[in-house]
């Protein structure tokens, strides 16, 4: 048996120097081209504002200039007024209108939305750090949070400032150059919140001059981007019924779209959109239909009332089709399906909703009548490619049930599904993508061994898609079998409603593994084994790298083409989050949180 993180991968790095030299030349060229493009892209006032905000020399120069012009032109009212207008205009420029997020790929120096762009790519077009120099990556600064618990945030980076959430309800703005806090927003958490699995917060959304984040007690909070002062807050759901919120919101046009957690508490799930200015609810899509609505017939009796189907990971958006794609979680109770006979729509689905109205365009259910807690909340990834000679708009998902799915994102048409980890529950898919279940693959009171186990083939950690390599990267858990058992679970509002669980089978050694899959088929290109089970996402870059974290505390970089490890750093605590990349003063940085700290790296 191969051991995780096997050794052969380490030794081959030195064997192909000429290839690496060639690649270095290539990357240098690409990096130079990008630096040029970077300057072209940033329009002058914006760049001016950026340098003033991020560079104290530039700021001093600007203030001197202004003061000088005041003295010089104090008798010329027009000039003075012009100077005033310029001064007032500065903060307005440091805004993130919808158009900027839409074109996030055009400004790789910033990280404007949870997955880096609306397509869910978690890909940085920056190439300064690449396969030839990543070995020289060094920490620049470390920010340590004050409250206990691990930090799972994805930072938002805008014009020289990093915005992070700390567990459970702290938002901090950090100067990207020094790591020093600019402001902190802090709110209290009610003492009686109920958590199935910790109280993390996974990040923010930004729109215009406002930051948005969700709280564990199910509130959407809007903060002033520049001061961290509270603009408004809206109660999304009643936390006393087991509702909670952990994901980053998604800003689309003039709305903030938020998902809900609570699949282990018998909630009735939904996806909400709120007016970004006022916090008023614009639409709600219930993920469990009530009687009279299509889909309610897939729930026996009153079981729909506690049907769960939460929406606990941030979705993605296609501006051309104006559709929001959002995954839904397990039906409730998780492991005991006796009382909820039927397919249990829209649990374990990918939903395509109209961004303006929340109306359902199409849905695709991955695991009908799920009894293994195989949430379909993994980040969907959008790209276009030819399938069987026909150009398609695609959405793909590496699903917790162990299969990699390719769907047409305009129609929801099923195209293919391929297992990307060991699975023992499905013989395959029928023509419509419905799994053909094998016998004896449901939890029993005594327990049934099923692959993949409870943590799934993958989980909420972000995948990545590199348009450069044309590869899909996912942090998977392989050889992951567990004994699923079911139990009785009477429903009490606000109490856990799970009906069983899963336990390890001694001798079954699951391991984490970064896999590169061909995006249109799901066929494996390479894999890199990690030792311990991991909940850390991956980010690919134009530098030909894949960055990721590990439970052991490693932040590492792999060659995106081959999976060879090129660099690692021991951060000293569990990494349970996703990496990001951005520019500070024209220099590429990568950042990730580990334990209670945010680590930022750059080349010397």
């Amino acid at each position: 048996m191969k051991t995780p993180g096997e050794i052969t991968q380490h030794t081959e790095i030195t064997k192909q120097p000429e290839i690496y030299r060639k690649r270095e030349r290539l990357y240098r060229k690409e990096a130079k081209r990008q630096r040029g493009k970077e300057l072209e892209r940033i329009n002058l006032p914006c760049h001016f504002a950026h340098s003033i905000l991020c560079d104290e020399k530039a700021a001093v120069a600007a203030v001197c200039c202004l003061a000088h012009s005041f003295r010089l032109f104090r008798h010329f009212r027009v000039f003075r007024n012009l100077a005033f207008i310029a001064l007032l205009a500065l903060p307005v420029l440091a805004q993130v209108p919808y158009q900027r997020i839409l074109n996030a790929d055009q400004e790789p120096g910033n990280w404007l939305t949870y997955s880096g762009n609306y397509q869910g790519h978690r890909y940085s077009p920056l190439a300064q750090i690449n396969t030839t120099n990543v070995a020289k990556l060094k920490p620049t600064w470390v920010y340590q949070v004050r409250d206990p618990g691990k930090v799972e945030t994805t930072p938002i980076v805008v014009d020289g400032v990093l915005y992070i959430t700390e567990k459970p309800h702290v938002v901090t703005a950090l100067d990207a150059r020094t790591g020093r806090p600019l402001w902190t927003y802090r709110r209290t958490t009610p003492p009686d919140v109920r958590a199935c699995c910790g109280t993390p917060n996974r990040g923010l959304a930004i729109l215009d001059d406002t930051l948005y984040f969700n709280t564990f007690d199910a509130k959407l909070v809007a903060l002033d981007l520049h001061t961290g002062k509270l603009r408004w807050e809206t109660t999304v759901a009643d936390y006393k019924l087991g509702y909670s919120m952990t994901a980053a919101p998604l800003a689309v046009k003039d709305k903030i779209i938020v998902g809900i957690a609570g699949g282990e508490f018998g909630i009735r799930g939904f996806l909400d959109a709120y007016d970004a200015k006022t916090g008023k609810r614009a639409w709600r899509f219930w993920t469990v239909p009530e009687p009279g609505e299509p889909g309610n017939e897939t729930w026996a009796g009153d079981s729909w009332k506690t049907g769960a189907a939460p929406t606990w990971v941030t979705g993605v958006y296609d501006p051309d089709l104006n559709l929001v794609y959002w995954g839904t979680g397990n039906p409730g109770p998780d492991w005991n399906g006796d009382e909820r006979a039927g397919d249990n729509l829209y649990s374990d689905c990918l939903l395509a909703l109209d961004a303006d109205t929340g109306k359902l365009k199409w849905y695709f259910q991955f695991t009908p009548h799920d009894v293994c807690d195989w949430d379909a909340t993994e980040t969907p990834v959008l790209f276009d490619a030819a399938i069987n000679g026909r150009n398609r708009k695609l959405v793909v998902m590496a699903n917790r049930n162990g299969f990699y799915y390719v769907l047409d994102r305009a129609t929801g048409e099923y195209l293919s599904a391929e297992p990307f980890v060991k699975q023992t529950w499905a013989k395959g898919m029928d023509a419509k993508g419905r799994p053909i279940r094998l016998p004896n693959t449901s939890p029993t009171p005594e327990g049934t061994l099923i692959y993949p186990g409870l943590d799934g083939g993958t989980n909420w950690q972000s995948p990545s898609y590199s348009p450069l390599q044309k590869l899909f990267y996912v942090l998977a858990r392989d050889n992951n079998g567990q004994i699923y058992f079911k139990a009785k679970t009477p429903y009490k509002p606000g109490d856990p409603f799970m009906g069983g669980g899963a336990r390890d089978l001694p001798g079954v050694e699951s391991y984490a593994v970064v896999k590169a899959l061909e995006p249109t088929t799901g066929k494996q290109k390479w894999e890199f084994k990690l030792y311990a089970p991991v909940f850390s996402g991956v980010m690919s870059t134009a530098g030909g790298l894949v960055f990721g974290g590990s439970t052991e505390g490693y932040f590492y970089a792999l060659d995106a083409a081959t999976g060879k490890p090129l660099w690692h750093f021991m951060a000293g605590a569990q990494i349970v989050t996703n990496p990001v990349s951005y520019l500070v003063n024209g220099k590429q940085h990568v950042a990730i949180t580990a334990g209670l700290s945010l680590f930022v790296f750059a080349l010397d």
Binding site: G5, I7, H10, A487, T489, Y531, H568
Partner: protein, 311 residues
């Protein structure tokens, strides 16, 4: 008289209905009512008294049987759950195995029912005992069953612990690899509390056939500290040609740490190794089948069982 008769029969009818449809508590209170009406029956005339007494005695007997069965049923799910979730380590009768015996009148950690329930719920950090995801009612049922196990006879060992102690340090030379209260080698598992952790049968098997039950899984990877202490045997060959054998202290994606039998500790980046072998299921411990007589083995087992960590 007729009224009393009608009353009696309708009472009987109501009672049967309630009894068949109600919970244990309600059944108990109904039985109390019934007993009261039985006493009330004394005032009746002889014939009716006979009929009512026969009727009521039968139903009382029936009720008692029902209650008894109900009580047995209450334990039944606990036993079923125990067999499904606990018996693999603690033995089908709780006699112990890889896990300690639970057939004790006084459990070492779960001394009271709430403590035992908390322990099953949360597991014991730093040991192989995991927390349970079962519902509260089910954990309660398991706890009730575990406490019932203690009413059975405790495990008896025929050996003499004092003689066993002598054998441990002389003929067995166990301290060469194991530590007791900080004395001895750290190459093998610490035995200071082994009597709390393992059952007699498991200890006997471990002495005779050390490789019969060696922990295999690293599913219990602990963030912050790493692999559980399962004394996995590893052999490495470094790039510069050194061969080193030892027990694994820790491991991650890029590094591994091990301890040689001599006590020396080595730490490697995996990139410094050209070979890494993990001998799952192997143990460096020799079999004591040829070393100890049957009586001596009993003595050593008795000594090991007496090791419970106290001063």
């Amino acid at each position: 008289m007729r009224l009393k008769k009608v009353l009696l029969f309708s009472l009987f009818f109501i009672w049967i209905t309630i009894f068949l449809t109600s919970s244990t508590d309600a059944r108990q209170s109904t039985m109390l009512l019934l007993a009261m009406s039985h006493a009330f029956g004394i005032t009746m005339n002889a014939r009716l008294r006979l009929v009512s007494r026969c009727l009521l005695s039968t139903s009382l007997l029936l009720g008692a049987l029902w209650l008894l069965r109900a009580q047995q049923n209450e334990l039944a799910p606990g036993e079923r759950l125990f067999q499904a979730h606990c018996a693999a380590c603690h033995g089908p009768q709780g006699e112990g195995g890889r896990g300690p015996t639970l057939a004790l009148a006084n459990l070492n950690r779960g001394t009271t029912e709430p403590l035992l329930i908390n322990l099953i719920k949360g597991g014991i950090p730093g040991t192989e005992m995991p927390g349970s995801q079962l519902a509260s009612e089910e954990i309660q049922a398991i706890a009730a069953y575990v406490r019932k196990l203690g009413q059975a006879l405790p495990e008896t060992v025929s050996g003499d612990a004092t003689r066993g102690k002598q054998l441990y340090f002389t003929k067995g030379n166990c301290q060469h690899c194991h530590a007791l209260k900080g004395q001895g080698s750290g190459f093998g598992p610490d035995l200071t509390e082994i009597g709390l952790k393992r059952g007699a049968a498991h200890l006997r098997t471990s002495l005779l056939a050390p490789e019969a039950d060696v922990p295999k899984s690293f599913a219990l990877y602990r963030p912050g500290t790493g692999v559980t202490e399962n004394f996995l045997q590893v052999r490495v060959l470094t790039i510069d040609g050194r061969r080193i054998k030892g027990v694994r202290l820790n491991e991650d994606t890029f590094t591994i740490q091990l301890r040689e039998a001599s006590g020396g500790v080595h730490s490697f980046f995996k990139s410094e190794l050209s070979e890494l072998h993990k001998d799952w299921g192997k143990s460096p411990m020799p079999s004591y089948r040829a070393v100890f007589s049957k009586a001596e083995l009993d003595d050593v087992v008795a000594f090991l069982l007496s090791l419970r960590g106290e001063k």
